[in-house]
């Protein structure tokens, strides 16, 4: 279960490279070694997304919230491993909601950090090349896509995420929302995620979440999105 969740989506590999912490020596020493999830480093400073996302938000979001998901995921995996070793499958199954929540939280945030970038570097602007062409084809135009994504974000009732995904079945781009930390799975490959939890914007934007949804386009890393699209 855990390896499926951690390895199914090709687009997640980049995030996993950063967070995989299995030492080869440890691998060799036992017949079964499970990789612990670890908090990935950000490729930019906490303050680097200002003024669009404040440094304080980024620091809490990464160091506290994401860390809690990492800790919770490892805890859930430990409980499952222990239950498995005792043949207690009822216990193992009871951890499923925690695995989904914390595992999803870890995956979602790992993808999120990488699809953001400082506005002074790769952040903002518009996609180019084949990605731009696909967006134009499936949404009409980049502006239409952005408006639809913002409508999806604004329509989330409670905590959740909106994603630009590629549907492997139809081959088209789509917008999906997910409640809480439910990860994007199945035939959808996540290309771009935007966190609509209140902790992602509240310290700076308070109840004015529409302003956050406008501002975040200044720090979207289209290079990352394009590379996920290429691999999808």
């Amino acid at each position: 279960m855990s390896s499926v969740l951690l390895r199914s989506a090709p687009a997640l590999r980049g995030a996993l490279r950063v967070s995989a912490a299995v030492k080869p020596a440890a691998m060799a020493s036992t017949s079964f070694v499970r990789g612990k999830a670890t908090l990935p480093d950000l490729s930019y400073d906490y303050g680097a997304l200002e003024p669009h996302i404040s440094g304080k938000i980024m620091e809490l979001h990464h160091k506290k919230h994401h860390q809690t998901y990492v800790t919770g995921l490892n805890g859930a995996l430990d409980t499952i491993a222990e239950a498995e070793s005792k043949g207690d499958f009822t216990k193992a199954a009871s951890v499923a909601p925690l695995l989904n929540f914390h595992g999803g939280g870890h995956l979602n945030h790992s993808l999120f950090w990488e699809n953001l970038a400082p506005a002074s570097r790769e952040g903002g602007g518009e996609p180019a090349g084949v990605l731009k062409k696909a967006i134009d084809e499936d949404f009409g135009s980049f502006d239409a896509f952005r408006n639809q994504m913002n409508t999806s974000l604004a329509g989330i009732q409670g905590s959740g995420w909106a994603w630009l995904v590629r549907d492997k079945q139809s081959g088209t781009l789509q917008l999906v929302t997910r409640a809480n930390q439910d990860p994007v799975t199945g035939s959808y490959v996540p290309l771009l995620g935007i966190d609509a939890w209140e902790h992602a914007y509240y310290l700076q934007y308070e109840n004015r979440k529409a302003e956050y949804f406008e501002a975040i386009w200044n720090v979207i890393n289209w290079k990352t999105v394009a590379s996920r699209f290429d691999k999808a």
Binding site: L60, Q157, G158, S159, N180, E198, Y202, L203, N207
Partner: protein
């Protein structure tokens, strides 16, 4: 499953009262109830230091107001959709009515079940019958607080924790997601808002501290009254705000 409780009930009553025009229904003349933001029974900063004045002001004047505004808008649209026999539009409005109607109900109940820590109502002694029942069910007030706090901290995402009275089961702790309202027939005794906007400006990611501190501002007198009364009694505040 939750239903829309008295908001839709009220809507139904309104429509039967107002849509009779002569011998036939004149559904376009149907008037819809307009809900209003209830005033707080205390000042925004009265719950300090446990809940900051800034949180309370935003929470009441912005968040709760948005639920009220969007509920009224959705109910108006619903009337139009009924008038035009647009069943698809009516169905599309249901989750919006539930979310915003739930937000209005939950917050209206919440403000009433909070009180400044210095007030006599903030002591569980203001709820003798409820306290006795809580001790019977959870062994002690502390045992109950632990169980309730654990339920609050176990919520994944946005939601609420409630102590409710059910006709058969008696007192029970339930948690609900997003703005799902407790309107399935149970009596809400008190609720605690676990949306991040309820605590983030003051407690940041430290929600356990918020959960610990909120006990200082629970209005046990209101809780006792709701415990002794019926569901209709508990919804008094909401009805007064129509």
């Amino acid at each position: 499953m939750v239903n829309f409780g008295n908001i839709l009930q009220y809507l139904a009553v309104q429509s039967s009262q107002n849509s009779l025009s002569g011998e036939e229904y004149n559904i376009t003349k149907m008037a819809v109830t307009t809900y209003a933001l209830p005033t707080l029974p205390y000042a925004y900063d009265a719950l300090e230091p446990y809940i900051s004045g800034q949180i309370m002001e935003l929470h009441h004047s912005k968040h709760h107001q948005a639920y009220v505004t969007n509920l009224n808008k959705a109910l108006q649209s619903h009337i139009a959709a009924v008038a035009s026999n647009d069943i698809a539009a009516q169905i599309a409005l249901q989750p919006i009515i539930k979310f915003n109607g739930g937000g209005h109900i939950n917050h209206a109940l919440f403000w009433q079940n909070l009180v400044p820590a210095s007030a006599a109502e903030a002591s569980p002694e203001a709820a003798p019958s409820l306290s006795a029942e809580i001790e019977k069910r959870w062994g002690s007030l502390d045992g109950f607080k632990q169980a309730f706090s654990a339920a609050l901290l176990g919520i994944q995402g946005s939601g609420w924790g409630w102590l409710v009275k059910e006709e058969d089961a008696g007192l029970r702790i339930v948690s609900t997601k997003d703005q799902d309202p407790v309107v399935s027939g149970e009596v809400p005794i008190f609720g605690v808002d676990m949306w991040e906007h309820a605590y983030y400006l003051q407690y940041l990611n430290g929600k356990a501290a918020y959960v610990e501190n909120v006990w200082n501002v629970i209005n046990w007198k209101t809780a006792e009254e709701r415990f002794m009364g019926t569901r209709e009694d508990a919804f008094k505040a909401l009805k007064a705000s129509i």
